[in-house]
Symmetry: C2
Subunit: 290 residues, 2 copies
């Protein structure tokens, strides 16, 4: 299999902290015996999935002093990166997501320079997640200067700005897609046509719709998977990146993304998937042309 | 008024983080818009109260890389200091307290050397709070080498070890005191006599009992104060330190500590007190010899 290189960019990378407690008691004091930390953020999860797939991946983004110990290759910033705190009581997770740090003009320039260096060798570039304190057109700036195909997984204003710069593919969920056009709902293919961009829209357990200039396809997983949907979207994005990098057809890309994201639901942490389930679903998943 | 110097030691200093949310929803995801951080730990609170009182205070302890930005004078350690996370929803606070960091042998030696330097110029030394990952006799080691009177505010094993080294005064609450002797309860004066140490035992809104070799006194605030009892114990300790440093009588020391801790309840944050209420209570608080 030819070697391809995928670059993931996580501008608002996080230190994901997990506190395990016996029970969450609102108003109470909890002595946390077990603190687990890992690097997080959607692009970091995409990179982890790609690594599990055996693909060659390079990850960049911003990292504050503490996060840099875990992501040494990221562009350093003076402010600490945001944290997410997950309080785990049995199987129930309660999440607290901090806002992102402010990025200085010099730090943004350093990121652009690192991006140019890495994107020059990349077959596909993935831009994932919300923005920290940077200009709302940050993704648009990256897309404009990127020599490789770009997948953009973002929301709201930064997605809107990014679309104007012409990404190869965007990956919203159905609600985000409708929200972009100020609608409550709508068929993904109609919304995509209106936006004038290729869209892989996730529909939760109903699978996904891929709407491109070449056609519209729909796919759903062969059976329902119970588990943790956190991270399924990042596995979906990882599969899109592999498919684009390897020059696969649109329906092949969609089928693979639906199989991989369903296999990610079976695993409790983001950035990983159930390999046996992925192999099984790869053979079973079907794609229908709309 | 003569200048006295009080040294506070906070071996397990913390970064106190406050997340403000609209409502705490167990199992939900909370976007935290407002993150507030401040240095914390009981000895840090004692130092803040002493500063508000106009006393000269020197604070030391251990601080990891991130906390050092807020406590530059503390002894640096490689591990990050613990965090406490307070989730504030309206007036309700839900607290998560991380365990402390592991301290290396070299870091402990550096602390002893800094302690010797600072304690040589101190009129009173205050040792406050739980221990991080150090030997359980850490407080005993500090007390043994300390040339100044020592107030020890700790719990459990490290308090037990500390008592054996002969502190000037310990400041448990009534339950902690009984627990030291493996009892459910007991009169503070009897428990203190059995332990062979001077004890200022706090009784919550009922005030406090001071049991010394010279006698036993009891005091209560002139009226109930509603508010936040967090930090009242640290204000109590601060007043004990001032009284010892200034050579006041035991009943004077007790009255002042009860007045100041009641005035601290009126203020929502630890390390501060209501100055007008403190002045009022100083005139009104009474002490009874047991």
């Amino acid at each position: 299999m030819a070697v391809v290189v995928i670059l993931t960019v996580t501008l608002n990378a996080a230190l994901d902290v997990t506190y395990r407690v016996d029970a969450l008691r609102p108003g109470g004091t909890h002595r946390v015996e077990d603190v687990h930390t890992r690097p997080g953020g959607k692009g970091v999860n995409v990179a982890d999935v790609l690594t599990q797939l055996g693909e060659q991946v390079v990850a960049t983004g911003f990292a504050g002093p503490q996060l840099r110990a875990l992501l040494p290759g990221f562009v350093p910033i003076a402010a600490e990166s945001r944290r997410t705190v997950a309080v785990l009581a049995g199987a129930e997770a309660t999440l607290f997501n901090e806002p992102g740090p402010v990025i200085s003009a010099g730090e943004w320039t350093a990121l652009l320079s690192e991006f140019d260096r890495l994107a020059a060798d990349a077959d596909v570039v993935v831009l994932s997640g919300r923005l920290p304190g940077v200009a709302p057109d940050a993704y648009a700036q990256l897309i404009t200067r990127c020599p490789a195909p770009v997948i953009l997984d973002a929301e709201g204003d930064c997605l809107r700005h990014g679309i104007a710069a012409g990404p190869t593919l965007i990956k919203p969920n159905q609600d985000e897609l409708a929200g972009l056009l100020g609608r409550e709902s709508g068929h993904p293919a109609d919304l995509a046509a209106e936006l004038g961009v290729n869209v892989a829209a996730t529909l939760g357990s109903d699978g996904a719709v891929l709407s491109t200039a070449d056609g519209v396809w729909r796919s759903r997983p062969p059976r329902a998977v119970t588990g943790n949907p956190t991270g399924a979207g990042d596995a979906f994005t990882a599969a899109l990146a592999v498919g684009l990098a390897r020059g696969r057809s649109w329906p092949q890309i969609l089928a693979d993304a639906v199989a991989l994201s369903a296999a990610a639901v079976a695993v409790p942490v983001a950035g990983a998937f159930d390999a046996a389930m992925y192999r099984e679903f790869t053979d079973l998943v079907t794609v229908v042309k709309d």
